[in-house]
Symmetry: C2
Subunit: 246 residues, 2 copies
């Protein structure tokens, strides 16, 4: 019965939770997962998530690492945990990973999708998973602006003040604005993200979509390295962590 | 300040409610709407809904009629009520209708959509709006069976026992099984429906989709005029009242 490192892929509806990260007296995804692991193994298992999603943010492909000494076969973790998790959290995959695998520093790419609804009336069936903006947004302008974010840049202007990482240079592999009927998806793929970076990007693209700013302002915002140069933060419920690659 | 008949189009996420119909000590859509009308007008206004959707069933196009004596212009009801309704209920239209308009008997057509998710793992973002069946379903067989329901038939075999209407003959204008990635939509349009009729149709089509029955069984089920001849009832959360025409 050797010690193993197990990586879970987890999906969750974040709308009823105080984010991923366990916190005293708050219902969090990590807290609920720790409870399910305890119910299954009678062990207090420490988990590490790849992305610290905020309150209200959902995920289809969060990655979670833990070390365990248990006779349960790896392939049984998915069903056994799903039987013990609430319906709005699910394990979609469980895999054994090498001892030296790190769920945060080994990430090569992540995709976040942000969804806006431009429906005239509030979209009752997706109100917890979209930012409702009942306006005409210029999607072409937004997509032109999104393209200026692609590449390796200092994204300090898009990091919320609470971000205390000293290096704010990140690489965005792609940023696409995709219309689907009354929905607009903003898909941002990158090697890593600063705190609230995607939501600050979305808030900025919306300023461009409503015509307040031109797409070229992105170059000025990047050069400013100042949070106040960018647009306001978009609300959390439109954000979903789609996948993480290693 | 004349008395007017106003017809509202209402959308709601039914997952947190005990159905449309007001009931003592239960949170219902009709109850919440009556409260919002009272908050707006200080009048206790009696409303009549076109469809008595069950607990857990959602709607994008429920129709609601009421009579009011108030100076509020008809076109202001939508915004004024939306400001007083919770985020998962919304008025999408308000229109004045003639004195002799009846919101139930004047219906010419209704469309219900039922959604099944065949995702391997439970779909956390749509768990309250789809029936999760992680199987391979034969959509062609289901659609062939659905086509046998179209027309004017005695649908007694598809009515739950609680239905006390003496005439169980109804007309189905269309019944289509539509695949969309891991989702299957079953769209049923008809002039009127018996109690639980759509959910009993869906439960029957699923028996056909999993291969337990052949599509032709529909003819036998219709002829039997016996609820036990059809399949089990599908759960409520997959059902959504899409629209009603007059």
């Amino acid at each position: 019965m050797a010690t193993r490192n197990i990586k879970l892929t987890i999906a969750y509806d974040g709308s009823g939770y105080h984010g991923w990260q366990a916190q005293p007296m708050q219902t969090t995804i990590q807290g609920i997962l720790t409870d399910a692991l305890f119910a299954l193994t009678s062990q207090q298992i420490s988990t590490k998530g790849a992305s610290r999603t905020d309150a209200g943010v959902s995920a289809l492909g969060q990655q979670v690492l833990f070390t365990i000494n248990s006779p349960i076969p790896t392939e049984n973790f998915q069903k056994a945990l799903n039987d013990r998790l609430p319906k709005n959290i699910a394990v979609t995959e469980a895999a054994e990973v090498p001892d030296d695998f790190d769920v945060i520093s080994d990430v090569t790419s992540k995709l976040y999708r942000y969804t806006i609804s431009t429906a005239k009336t509030r979209p009752v069936l997706s109100i917890d998973h979209a930012w409702h903006l009942p306006y005409k947004l210029d999607q072409l302008a937004m997509d032109s602006a999104a393209k200026l974010l692609v590449g390796t840049h200092d994204f300090k202007s898009f990091a919320s003040a609470a971000d205390n990482r000293t290096n704010s240079v990140r690489t965005i592999f792609g940023c696409n604005v995709i219309g689907e009927n009354e929905l607009i998806h903003i898909d941002t793929e990158g090697s890593g993200f600063l705190y609230n970076m995607v939501r600050n990007i979305v808030g900025t693209l919306v300023e461009i979509g409503i015509g307040r700013w031109k797409p070229q302002i992105i170059n000025h915002i990047l050069a400013a390295k100042d949070r106040t140069a960018a647009g306001p933060i978009a609300p959390p419920q439109g954000l979903c962590l789609m996948w993480i690659k290693y």
